[in-house]
Symmetry: C2
């Protein structure tokens, strides 16, 4: 489908972006997701590995109190706290810890939506789900990020790195990384909370290397031709089955457990009740579940999210 | 080796135990280990599945505050709190929550070490380690528990159920279950904290069924002939490598990760430092590591424990 843009009119279709000079790497947005916490702490001690010519790269622990306690958050989920309401809230020390922290991060790396905001923020996350290596994209229109993700996917092959598109008319996440012009989430699993697994740690490290390489090449003036990127667009949150009192009465079905990104067809087993009954998927078409049985989402009433496969086209990009 | 005890002198060598009339099933000793929490909550609503003739079986949530918060503990680890010092401590409401709770549990199910104590306590745990189904035995001399574990292992075959022997001259655990005459730990994994996996849940349920069946048969007068049980005896705690400030500088090596119960030989890779160096096992003989990379043991400075394989002999047992 991208054949329509021939090399003759590439210059017309090429999107121009300013050089990406200021880049932050966030770890510890959730204090018990250990790959990002560990990598960022390492890089704060010795940044040689992440230095790139002409780039100012800031590794940063976003939720130090949660890291210290090895919990997801202290008062409220920092990665949902970057709403305009929170960022403009008054109250100072009386505000929930993570709201104070969001304001501080917004001052340091934003303000969100402004010309002064950081160019790129990578936010490093782990999941207990069997998602493998996942990049999270917040806008299907962000050609810079689409090109970056295309670059990472190719550089990371033959290993697999998928793209989750969190662009939804109703589900708004207000993430820590949303402060930047180009927010990039990295979600690598499976890894239990509070555990550091060498395979997950190393995969995250390699993905981040490719991401920084891409930014370097872009800043040096390389033109990236039009491309297409396969993404999984978030459709719907699916809750666990519950009784009248709100108590969970079923588990993710063994046929679905660990099958993130695999097709779930109408009629497929989805949950298994504690007394052994199977609950089937009742949707009208095939979806691709992910974040299946993520520990942190029990409190968010979410057993998994469904997604739809799409192919997004990105224009060529070049430094302005 | 057990051929020496012929059937002729079985009666002489048969250990006699009182019928095991009072049995407790503990869940939520660690509030984020979801299989036990969920099973015990289910059985508190409907105990048909665990009822056995002539047995009083009490399913019990030991740490309800930790369960409510979905954390391991509130003030201190309940499963290390059953020391004589704690159990006799004065201070009432001023004591740490879990110490108060230990005293309460000791009053309900003990007192520990007394004739009034419950006969058997099963304590249901999960681990993030790849331990599969594990029974934890606190004394190599407890013929009743050895016979029970032998029965469970055979009933559970061809699936595997291993026995960890926590009997060590220095490492004392002071567990919740230690209140009973015959304490039995069940540890099933891998399962992340705060997550319920159907395979882990069902395995625990089946093991407990076999355990209760054994007690029923014993109470009905069945004699269990002498047997041998393979156990893994705890030897040593191994900490993560650390720098001078106490910070962890290495991860469990990928060759060791998930290899619980497999032989670790002198010279085998054990840790991998963050800058890529391999640290080898320096012991003088082969050991069998377990609890490898358990989330809850980072704070206990434990990357894994080493064990030694042993075969324990149990005498015949019969109801007195």
């Amino acid at each position: 489908m991208s054949n329509g843009s021939s090399s003759n009119n590439n210059n017309n279709n090429t999107a121009r972006f300013d050089a990406a000079r200021r880049v932050a790497i966030f770890g510890g947005t959730h204090g018990n997701e250990m790959s990002g916490v560990t990598l960022v702490n390492l890089w704060m001690q010795n940044s040689a590995e992440i230095q790139r010519k002409g780039l100012e790269i800031k590794p940063f622990i976003t939720n130090p109190k949660a890291v210290e306690k090895c919990v997801r958050y202290v008062d409220t989920d920092l990665n949902r706290a970057f709403t305009q309401e929170n960022l403009s809230a008054t109250g100072g020390d009386e505000l929930p810890y993570e709201v104070q922290r969001a304001q501080e991060i917004n001052r340091m790396f934003g303000p969100k939506g402004s010309a002064e905001a950081y160019d790129v923020i990578f936010d490093l996350h782990n999941t207990t789900s069997n998602m493998g290596c996942t990049l999270i994209l917040e806008s299907s229109k962000d050609a810079f990020n689409l090109q970056m993700m295309n670059y990472i996917k190719k550089a990371f092959a033959p290993a697999s790195c998928l793209v989750l598109l969190n662009e939804h008319p109703l589900l708004k996440y207000s993430t820590s990384r949303s402060v930047a012009k180009h927010p990039v989430g990295m979600e690598v699993g499976p890894q239990p909370q509070g555990v550091l697994r060498s395979n997950i740690f190393e995969a995250m490290r390699v993905i981040l290397k490719h991401a920084l390489d891409f930014i370097s090449l872009f800043n040096e003036g390389m033109e990236f031709p039009p491309c297409t990127v396969e993404v999984f667009r978030v459709l719907e949150r699916m809750d666990y089955p519950r009784d009248a009192n709100g108590n969970i009465i079923a588990m993710v079905h063994p046929n679905l457990q660990d099958c993130d990104w695999e097709p779930l067809n109408p009629g497929d087993p989805m949950f298994q009740t504690f007394d052994g009954k199977t609950i089937h998927y009742q949707g009208s078409s095939t979806v691709y579940p992910t974040f299946i049985n993520e520990a942190a989402y029990y409190e968010k009433q979410q057993a998994f999210v469904t997604t739809r496969r799409e192919t997004l086209a990105a224009s060529a990009i070049r430094k302005a």
